[in-house]
């Protein structure tokens, strides 16, 4: 049991370093930087929503569509990584299987493109 915990020591080191660097960056900018906030500067930008608001507010259903489309290609990458690592084990059959999977996703992509799911208007 002790060995198992000891084997996680590098993770602890990693965590400490990460927290240290992130803290140094945030704290440094807080201490050294010039703080001149005004309404326009502190407002949310690019994402389009107030950061702190009622979670049950209505929003455009198109955001949902974009999120769904994102998930498909997100998962594709999640499958590609283990496949790329184990390519020498899965051989030609595994290679072709993944190509089939990608082809299937491409058909889905053509479908959503032709259906106009990628146009915002």
């Amino acid at each position: 049991m002790h060995d198992v915990i000891a084997s996680y020591f590098p993770v602890l080191v990693f965590g400490v370093i990460a927290v240290g660097i992130a803290g140094a960056m945030l704290g440094g900018s807080l201490l050294a930087g010039h703080q001149k906030p005004y309404a326009e500067k502190t407002s949310a930008y690019e994402c389009g929503f107030e950061a702190f608001d009622d979670a049950r507010r209505r929003f455009d259903v198109r955001f949902y569509l974009v999120a769904i489309l994102f998930i498909i290609f997100d998962l594709e990458v999640a499958f590609l990584f283990p496949w790329a690592v184990s390519l020498s084990h899965v051989g030609l059959f595994g290679f072709l299987s993944m190509l089939g999977f990608l082809g299937m996703l491409t058909v889905g992509f053509i479908y959503e493109w032709c259906k106009g799911a990628l146009d915002w208007d």
Binding site: F93, G103, M104, V107, I110, Y111, C114, K115
Partner: protein, 475 residues
């Protein structure tokens, strides 16, 4: 790598992708619905042929198996998919005009049912079931401008996800206590250990619960009436056919294969589900006024009868279940083709009262509906009689006299509501006539009527095919 055993599935998948692409690249002015439906039917026909000539074997690292049983179930699934696609040809949603995704989704769902029939591993079981179910969730809500259709899709999705969760829990327990997910290996483990641990038994119970949900067997039937009523009629016809047959393929395969050594333990469970389904299906159908709801309760009852063959746990019982499912597939499609033809001025009507006097206003349709009703209640010489006869005789052979008695009583109760429809059609005052039937619905109801009425002519080949399938399952 013995990849050729899944060739029919690969071909059907490829066809589905091609049809989807063909449908979506069409110009806005042309509606590719009819063309895509025709292509889908052709794809089903080609795949059906490929299934019948596909070789036996196991492959893909023991997750996929092809044997006589898988072929029998796949052919039934494909027939169910093709008949439902023919029915969609006349389907127009609330907003008018068919959308080509309907046949494509039926096709993808059917690929799932084929995978279920070929599963040799809990993983394939789950993937096949989900592939088939996810397409059906969309199909149920396909008429998206209609509130009832959206409601049916949402209900089926939420309850179906719950059932998938139960099933996964069962699979994980089986894996945890059995140490493997391969059917053959589970069987070996169970025979060597000479019995199942409590955890494994719990896993089997959860597996049965998850599959019984998809079968709409009592006590997991609550979704059935709402989903059947709300979904578009061709989708309901599909839902009651291919997916149920494939779920039966799963439950038969895992009960006879990996858990075959535990038959005395699970037999009682299947018996209880069977009895409850038969009793509930026949009693709850009596007060119904909507024919789609009535058919939902009727299907719950029919699943009870079909489970009777599994409860017997003999090759004869499995043969009976397979013949029962075959007859049910045809008469069910016939009834729903009749229901889809119940349209007045372009609007669907689904009340039983709307059938009043159909024997005078539309004698052909009334005759077909009467044949299906007689078959549903098991009147000789229609198809339904032979299915019932086989499961009843299997139950008798296995000494399940209580089950047999309850089956006989519920059949008699069922006769009341089936005959009530015949009475409404022939003896009640005439309601206004329905719209002219579209050719596809007329073709379906007449051809299914002929199959149902003259099933005795093909009884021999069907029975011997079912016999071969059953003996592939129990060596």
């Amino acid at each position: 790598m013995n990849w050729i055993i899944a060739f029919p599935e690969l071909v059907l998948t490829l066809c589905g992708l091609v049809i989807l692409t063909v449908g979506v690249v069409q110009k806005k002015s042309t509606n590719p619905f009819a063309a895509c439906s025709m292509l889908t039917i052709a794809a089903f026909a080609i795949t059906g042929f490929l299934v019948t000539v596909s070789p036996d074997g196991s492959g893909y690292e023991h997750v996929f198996v092809n044997d006589g049983f898988a072929r029998f179930m796949k052919v039934l699934s494909l027939i169910g998919g093709a008949l439902a696609t023919i029915m969609t040809l006349s389907y127009r949603g609330t907003s008018g005009g068919g959308r080509f995704e309907l046949p494509v989704l039926i096709l993808f769902s059917t690929i799932g049912t084929m995978l279920m029939a070929s599963s040799d591993n809990m993983m394939t079981l789950f993937v096949g079931l989900e592939l088939s179910s996810l397409a059906i969730y969309i199909l149920c809500a396909f008429d998206r401008d209609s509130v009832v259709s959206s409601e049916s899709g949402l209900k089926y999705f939420i309850l179906g996800s719950l059932a998938s969760g139960l099933l996964l829990y069962g699979i994980s327990l089986t894996y945890g206590y059995g140490g493997t997910m391969e059917y053959g290996a589970i069987r070996t483990v169970l025979i060597q250990s000479g019995g199942a641990s409590l955890g494994l038994m719990l896993g089997i119970v959860f597996l049965i619960a998850g599959l019984a949900f998809k079968l709409s067997a009592v006590p997991f039937h609550m979704w059935t009436p709402d989903v059947y009523q709300g979904a578009p009629t061709p989708v309901t016809a599909y839902l009651a056919g291919a997916p149920k047959i494939a779920t039966f393929a799963l439950i038969l395969r895992i009960m006879a294969g990996p858990f075959g050594a535990l038959a005395p333990q699970w037999q009682l469970l299947i018996e209880m589900i069977s009895v409850l389904s038969m009793v509930f299906g026949s009693l709850a159908a009596i007060p119904q006024t909507n024919i789609k709801r009535l058919m939902a309760y009727s299907s719950i009852g029919h699943m009870g009868y079909a489970l009777m063959g599994l409860a017997a746990a003999t090759p004869g019982g499995i043969r009976g279940t397979l013949v029962y499912l075959t007859t049910y597939l045809f008469m069910n499609v016939g009834v729903f083709a009749g229901i889809a033809a119940m349209r007045r001025k372009g609007h669907e009507t689904t009340d039983i009262a709307d059938l009043s006097g159909l024997g005078r206003t539309s004698p052909g349709l009334a005759l077909m509906m009467a044949i299906f009703m007689f078959s549903m209640l098991g009147m000789p010489p229609t198809a339904g009689f032979f299915g019932k006869l086989m499961v009843f005789s299997a139950a008798y052979g296995a000494g399940l006299y209580g089950l047999l008695a309850i089956g006989a009583i519920t059949s008699a109760i069922g006769a009341y509501y089936y005959l009530r429809i015949v009475k409404v059609m022939y003896f009640d005052a005439s309601a206004p006539a329905f719209d002219t039937r579209s050719p596809s619905l007329a073709f379906l109801s007449v051809s299914m009527g002929i199959v149902t009425a003259l099933f005795v002519l093909v009884l021999g080949p069907v029975t011997s095919a079912a016999q071969a399938a059953a003996s592939a399952l129990i060596g």
